[in-house]
């Protein structure tokens, strides 16, 4: 079996607000030093799959820098390796890619060049550890045209997923994309194995643009589609709340996602940074701290990416703080997601007060009390910011009219 992996890394993921305003979702830092894409990429190489194509479209630069020639994953190879694909112009191809299936269709010529018989399609924005080999075996033994990975979800969550029904032979007999109510609870994980020939034939129908929405319902009765059940940790971190929760889950005594597993290492591109320095008056309990952090203040129940500095007298609690952000003296940060290179001025407070007014502009995205601060924003000294607030990337003193930003506001 000769397998090509295609990772979907082009979606805009607007639900992640300011985090995806500056980069594609797969490039968002996660778990301190990692990025979301590290999980599927590491799964590939840990499953001995070394031929990987990353399909990008939305804000790919951060992702390009991170993946590079694939060295951290040993994907800098002369046979196979990792390739980053961008949308391109050509005869008959003039628009942007309109969905996951359309993106694959754009690159079918590459698939044929590679002489592969199997194509594994992955989402670039899920956090999980999975050996793909048993699924590929299942696909082969079943002689399926397509196989999708499924997992059980709670009946209350079925509206977020594509829900499948299967028969006794693990063959998919029904598929509903995000049903409002469903008796079935087997959800598709957005992981598909296709027989290369079948994929080519299916994508010849130009009206099929998305795997979940269009392709699966269309091929159920014309092709043999199997369902492979995966049991294990899997998280779609496509919303701010889910992203924050999955980070916080890493702080548990025995987390569902074990980053310390020497048999399944998650590889990433690491900057060269010195060890974490913890000062004489620091208080640090229940955290994940990355290289290059300098902690002089209080940090509790938080996940810090490399190079974060917390000055004396400052306090950080229940927050996710990304690379090189500086929290100055006596500032207070609680329940916040703070992007890279942000400066929180002296005595500033994030998540001040108790009122939980949902965000005025995006009430459906930000209503659980979290506040988010975009990349390179500068919060002036003494400013207090409430809950469910959005501070856009790059704002500085001039954007703050008062020294209080009430809950639910946006700057």
């Amino acid at each position: 079996m000769n397998t090509l992996v295609m990772v979907m890394a082009g979606g805009a993921s607007e639900d992640l607000s300011v985090l995806t305003a500056v980069r594609a979702e797969p490039a968002i830092p996660f778990g301190g030093k990692f990025r979301i894409i590290d999980f599927p990429l590491s799964n590939c190489v840990n499953s001995d799959l070394f031929n990987v194509a990353l399909l990008t479209q939305y804000m790919p630069r951060s992702l390009n820098d991170h993946v590079g020639v694939g060295k951290p994953w040993d994907l800098d190879r002369s046979v196979g390796g990792v390739r980053l694909f961008q949308p391109y112009l050509g005869p008959g191809q003039s628009g942007w890619q309109r969905g996951t299936a359309d993106a694959v269709r754009y690159n079918l010529d590459f698939m044929e060049e590679q002489r592969v018989d199997t194509v594994l399609i992955l989402a670039g924005d899920h956090i999980y550890k999975m050996d793909y080999r048993p699924m590929l075996n299942f696909h082969q033994q079943m002689r399926a045209d397509a196989t999708l990975a499924v997992r059980r979800v709670s009946p209350f969550e079925t509206h977020r997923f594509g829900i499948v029904s299967v028969d006794g032979e693990r063959r998919v007999t029904g598929f509903k994309e995000k049903p409002r109510r469903s008796r079935e609870t087997l959800a598709s994980m957005g992981i598909y194995v296709f027989r290369a020939e079948a994929l080519k034939e299916i994508l010849a129908d130009q009206t099929l643009n998305d795997f979940g929405r269009d392709v699966l319902p269309a091929i159920l009765h014309t092709h043999k589609v199997g369902a492979y059940t995966f049991e294990g940790y899997w998280a779609d971190v496509g919303t701010l709340q889910a992203y924050w929760e999955s980070n916080m889950a890493l702080l548990a005594e025995t987390p569902a996602l074990d980053l310390y597993d020497s048999q399944w290492i998650i590889h990433t591109r690491s900057e060269e940074q010195p060890p974490v320095q913890i000062g004489p008056n620091a208080w640090v309990g229940g955290n994940l701290l990355s290289n290059g952090c300098i902690i002089e203040g209080v940090v509790e129940r938080s996940v810090l990416s490399p190079g974060v500095r917390v000055a004396a007298g400052a306090a950080v609690r229940d927050s996710v703080i990304m690379n090189d952000t500086v929290i100055e003296a006596n500032a207070k940060v609680e329940r916040a997601i703070i992007d890279k290179e942000v400066q929180i001025g002296e005595g500033a407070e994030i998540c001040y007060g108790v009122d939980n007014v949902p965000n005025r502009h995006f009430p459906e995205r930000l209503n659980t009390g979290l506040s988010v601060v975009g990349k390179r924003a500068r919060i002036p000294a003494g400013v207090r910011i409430g809950h469910n607030a959005i501070i856009n990337p790059g704002v500085d003193e001039s954007h703050f009219n008062a020294d209080f930003v009430p809950s639910g506001e946006m700057v």
Binding site: G32, L259, I266, P275, G279, P280, A282, V284, L288, S290
Partner: protein, 419 residues
């Protein structure tokens, strides 16, 4: 101007006791995730010198694995790059091992001549410092020197540890005394950093005779050159430490854990990054019970106990209820629940059983087997040792590599013992 750097990395570092039992001194871990040689190698590439030879002899495996093809330092290059040179057999004259620093360079003269650089920069692989070599190279050229020696002022009471020199007004060296017993030779000490014109180096090293050997730079080569060649001193001001003893290794590490008072080595310096080969490890995990102050903690550590004034290398595990104080813990060491570690250096893959007290009591009896090396209250544990639970171990104790639980005689090991 082409420069070839030659790093001396063959020394046994015997004063570091068990730390250099299984590896040469430059390969000893330092400041958490680094190794001693990272500082010199990073100085080279940060100074724009990409042609580096590393001369090894004593236990080179750890060093070979660490340096590899030089990728972390961008020394995996088509032209130049890093070369690891081992001793080899050649004509009858080369049957012996290297007898000293100059001898090691002499045996690699063919390599140096093949490279044909204008200057050869000779460095020691076991010092901790950050130095841009470019000003020194410029100085060497401006003085029209044959040999330039990097020097720095040291306290008068330490002059017997260094090569001490006397200079004239133009910084030309007029006298050189290797480790003088009397304290009347001044305080200008050699840092073991030499720049030679290649031709002079080749000529002087080839002149060795049994009655006037050319085995060691400090003992033989420099004293013999002062009279006939232009030998200058280049003064360096900045942080520079020879971590050759257990005490200085421990002190220098612990200085990094404290607050930056301006006198210590600054590791967080984006303009002078110290590169190292990093294993892929997750971030530091601090449990809810963890208390950590004044410490340097590397990737992959999991801390559930208390850590004070200590330096932890990657992958160290500190169990709940354990206390680690004023100590240096090297990779993947496991500290059991309730164990108390005080003033210790613990090498990699050591297991300390539950409730064991290591570095206990007020008794400062020097180590009986090596009183000159272990006398300041530091207890040292060699790599791979398994120390059983419930033990009380005193100070200045030496536990050798790979000791098993059955090697420990009783529940108490008094100060000064060796296991």
């Amino acid at each position: 101007m082409q420069t070839l750097a030659v790093l001396m990395a063959g020394g046994a570092g015997t004063r570091l006791t068990v730390l250099s039992d299984k590896r040469s001194k430059p390969a000893v871990p330092f400041a958490g995730k680094y190794r001693i040689i990272d500082f010199t190698l990073s100085n080279c590439v940060n100074s724009g010198i990409y042609d580096v030879a590393v001369l090894t002899q004593y236990r080179p495996h750890s060093l070979n694995t660490h340096i590899g093809i030089g990728k972390p330092w961008d020394l995996d290059r088509q032209r130049g790059g890093v070369h690891l040179r081992q001793p080899y057999q050649g004509s009858s004259a080369d049957l012996d091992w290297y007898r000293g620093t100059a001898d090691a360079v002499y045996r690699n003269l063919d390599f140096i001549q093949e490279k044909n650089p204008d200057l050869v920069l000779i460095l020691s692989g076991d010092h901790i410092y950050k130095m841009d070599y470019r000003p020194m190279l410029t100085y060497h050229r401006e003085k029209g020197a044959d040999l330039t020696v990097g020097v720095m002022e040291v306290p008068l009471e330490e002059t017997d540890r260094f090569g001490i020199m006397t200079v004239n007004r133009n910084m030309r060296i007029t006298e050189f005394h290797e480790k003088p017993k009397e304290r009347d030779k001044g305080t200008l000490a050699s840092m073991g950093i030499y720049i030679f014109d290649t031709d002079i180096l080749v000529q002087r090293l080839s002149e060795g005779r049994p009655e006037s050997p050319r085995i060691d730079f400090g003992k033989d080569v420099i004293p013999s050159m002062i009279a006939q060649d232009k030998v200058y001193a280049y003064p360096f001001e900045g942080y520079w430490v020879d971590v050759g003893t257990i005490q200085s290794f421990w002190e220098t590490n612990l200085a990094l854990s404290g607050a930056d008072d301006g006198n210590t080595l600054k590791l967080h310096d984006p303009d002078w990054v110290i590169h190292t080969r990093s294993e892929e490890r997750p971030p530091v995990k601090l449990g809810p019970q963890a208390q950590v102050i004044n410490s340097l903690i590397s990737n992959g550590c999991v801390i559930r106990g208390r850590v004070e004034n200590s330096v932890l290398s990657p992958g160290v595990y500190v169990s709940p209820g354990a206390v680690v104080r004023d100590s240096v813990l090297i990779n993947d060491t496991w500290i059991g629940p309730g164990a108390i570690i005080d003033r210790a250096i613990i090498d990699e893959n050591v297991v300390i059983g539950a409730g064991t007290k290591l570095g206990y009591g007020e008794d400062m009896t020097p180590n009986q087997a090596m009183p000159d090396r272990l006398n300041t209250g530091i207890t040292v544990v060699g790599s791979g040792a398994h120390i059983p639970g419930g033990l009380t171990i005193g100070r200045n104790v030496l536990i050798n590599c790979d000791r098993l639980e059955s090697d420990f005689p009783g529940a108490e090991i008094p100060s000064g013992e060796t296991v």
